[in-house]
């Protein structure tokens, strides 16, 4: 089972929930859970996992390279490139690698077969484990624009042979392409929010993606419960979304998280809550 943890609004507790679920799943599963950090712009799961040695492999986008001997400067490549990542300038073809989405269209369309593709490194995939869980995460290089190719490389590499493992995906905030890339690979989405007008506004945007567009079953975790108002709970009722848990506003939680301690280890009284969430999701998806 693949569970994505997403949110709409940032800073609502996605990573806290993802790490806690992975640790909760390690208790009684026959296979080790796998935690994939898909928030490649700002990956934080590793900070909470006390990992063994981390290995890193570069990843990126296949970009065109033009053979100047074969190229006759016809400009077909520039014509078909939607992102203006390739252009003929005088006697040369220029490639703007950071604009290239790696679709391969210029390579296919070149009438002289003058283009081949090379890997342009835009990030890396890291892998490690601790005594309870296996971990992999994508890291977008600083200055790079596109998160999605790093996310899709991470998911392609780790979801194929997952067997019966529980896989937890920690998504980027928001509801545009990096979030969509992550949640569409999942069987169930947990939307973490807080009971405030900002939390509600961004939850609504996330629900429109997950429920209305992708039709993936989902449930909500209300974090920092007790602050704000009841509008989020009312919204969940109206939209028929189960509230999986309400995590109270508790200054101790903020303090332990600020030191990189996983919630369910530092405050073990929360462990049962995350086991129950896993059980509920298991029943829903079976």
């Amino acid at each position: 089972m693949v569970i994505a943890v997403a949110s709409g609004k940032g800073g609502t507790g996605k990573t806290t929930v993802a790490v806690s679920l992975a640790l909760a799943a390690s208790n009684d599963a026959d296979a080790r859970p796998l935690l994939l950090d898909c928030d490649v712009e700002e990956p934080n799961c590793a900070l909470f996992l006390d990992l063994d040695r981390i290995t890193r492999k570069p990843t990126g986008v296949l970009v065109p390279e033009v053979d100047p001997v074969k190229c006759d400067l016809c400009g077909r490549c520039a014509e078909v490139c939607v992102w203006k990542a390739i252009a003929v300038a005088g006697e040369k073809v220029l490639v703007f690698r950071d604009l290239c989405h790696g679709c391969g269209s210029c390579t296919l369309m070149c009438p002289r077969g003058a283009i081949h593709e090379i890997m342009h490194e835009t990030g890396s995939i890291e892998e490690s484990s601790n005594r309870s869980v296996d971990y992999a995460g994508g890291v977008l290089n600083v200055g790079q624009v596109m998160a999605v190719p790093v996310i899709s490389a991470l998911l392609d590499g780790h979801l194929r042979d997952r067997g019966k493992r529980t896989v937890i995906l920690d998504s980027s905030p928001g509801s545009s392409c990096p979030m969509v890339e992550t949640v569409k690979a999942s069987d169930y989405v947990i939307l973490v929010t807080e009971p405030t007008p900002f939390g509600l506004h961004d939850l609504d945007a996330a629900v429109r993606v997950v429920t209305d567009q992708l039709h993936i079953p989902s449930g909500v975790i209300v974090n920092r419960d007790g602050t704000g108002n009841d509008d989020v709970i009312d919204f969940c009722r109206e939209r028929g979304l189960p509230v999986l848990a309400r995590i109270p506003m508790d200054r101790r939680i903020a303090e332990v998280l600020s030191e990189g301690k996983p919630l369910v280890r530092a405050l073990p009284e929360y462990m049962d809550l995350f086991r129950e969430i896993l059980a509920t999701i298991g029943e829903t998806t079976s």
Binding site: S7, G8, K9, G10, G11, T12, T15, E41, E42, N44, L47, F48, V80, V82, H101, G102, C103, G104, S105, L108, M109, L140, V142, G143, Q144, V145, M146, A147, S172, P173, G174, S175, S176, C177, P178, M179, V180, K184, T196, P197, F198, H201, D202, A205, R208, V209, D212, Q213, L214, T227, G228, N229, R251, A254, E255, L257, S258, E259, G260
Partner: protein, 295 residues
């Protein structure tokens, strides 16, 4: 005209709450134009309660679609699509269609189809607005669910904001930025004179602070920092202040945890409007005084 962008790396550190307070303070001293560049989570309007003046459509990327009548089921489109967007609807191996959510809009299938059965049109991917708030005109947007190209929408918003600011001889463009370091962030900070990064004293926010600072160095934009909820972990707050000092980045102030920020938000107000004497309000006032010197 100066441009200030508020960023954070990590989400949920208080960018929008700080931006709205600064907007209130700045508007007493200068004319300003606001842009909410966090188009995925456009919350600034929830604190400024603006009145919508003009509505514009945002045209996003291409989406391919296959004419089932003309299709000869050769499978070339599926072969060339690198985004897994060409699918067999209802599992029928002879039928082909495009999943619009996965379609990258590269038009590769459109060019490769031997019978011209594929079309590719630009789609409306969102709406953006020019609204009037008590702090000044606000440019903000709504992306349609699951759409891409949010960086392009941010660029469009900012271009409109800078245009209005220039034509009215305004003093400041204030941009509420998105979290992260990728496409929409880079679009939000293009052309900024100064970035204010709102961070928190925790391992995640500190990790993300370093990545956004590196990103700003990469694009040659000057940074400043303020630390929200600073009393949650005082030693981490001191760690941030020391590392910023070592890197020559000004720390403009600490904002203590203050539940009046959330109470104010629930009433659609900034904490400065709700309780000007609260600890968070006093702290933001101090930050604005320092910020004004930079601008």
């Amino acid at each position: 005209m100066k441009q200030l962008v508020v960023l954070s790396g990590k989400g949920g550190t208080g960018k929008t709450s700080v931006t709205a307070c600064i907007a209130g303070l700045a508007s007493k001293e200068m004319t300003l134009v606001l842009a909410d560049a966090d188009v995925d989570a456009a919350n600034l309007e929830l604190l400024l309660n603006p009145r919508r003046r003009d509505t514009y459509q945002f045209t996003g990327g291409f989406k391919a679609s296959i004419d089932r009548e003309a299709c000869i089921s050769c499978g070339r489109c599926m072969e060339v699509c690198r985004f897994g967007a060409v699918v067999h609807p209802d599992g029928d191996p002879d039928a082909y269609s495009v999943d619009p959510v996965s379609c990258e809009g590269c038009k590769s299938c459109y060019y490769q189809c031997p019978v011209n059965a594929i079309s590719a049109e630009r789609t409306v991917a969102g709406t953006w607005y020019l609204s009037d708030s008590h702090c000044g005109p606000l440019f903000h947007a709504e992306m349609f669910a699951g759409e891409e190209n949010s960086g392009k929408l941010v660029s469009e918003l900012k271009k409109a904001a800078a245009g209005l600011c220039g034509s009215h001889d305004c003093g400041l463009v204030l941009v509420d930025g998105p979290p992260g370091i990728g496409c929409p962030v880079i679009a939000a900070c293009a052309g900024a004179d100064l970035a204010l990064i709102v961070t928190e004293p925790g391992v995640s926010a500190i990790h993300d602070l370093h990545r956004i600072l590196q990103t700003l160095v990469h694009f040659g934009i000057q940074s400043s920092v303020c630390i929200n909820r600073s009393d949650i972990n005082v030693s981490r707050t001191e760690e941030i202040e020391e590392s910023c000092r070592n890197e020559g980045i000004p720390v403009l102030g600490r904002i203590p945890y203050d539940d009046r920020v959330t109470m104010a938000m629930c009433r659609g107000k900034t904490v400065l409007e709700y309780d000007p004497a609260s600890p968070a309000s006093m702290a933001v006032l101090g930050i604005w005084k320092k910020l004004r010197e930079f601008l």
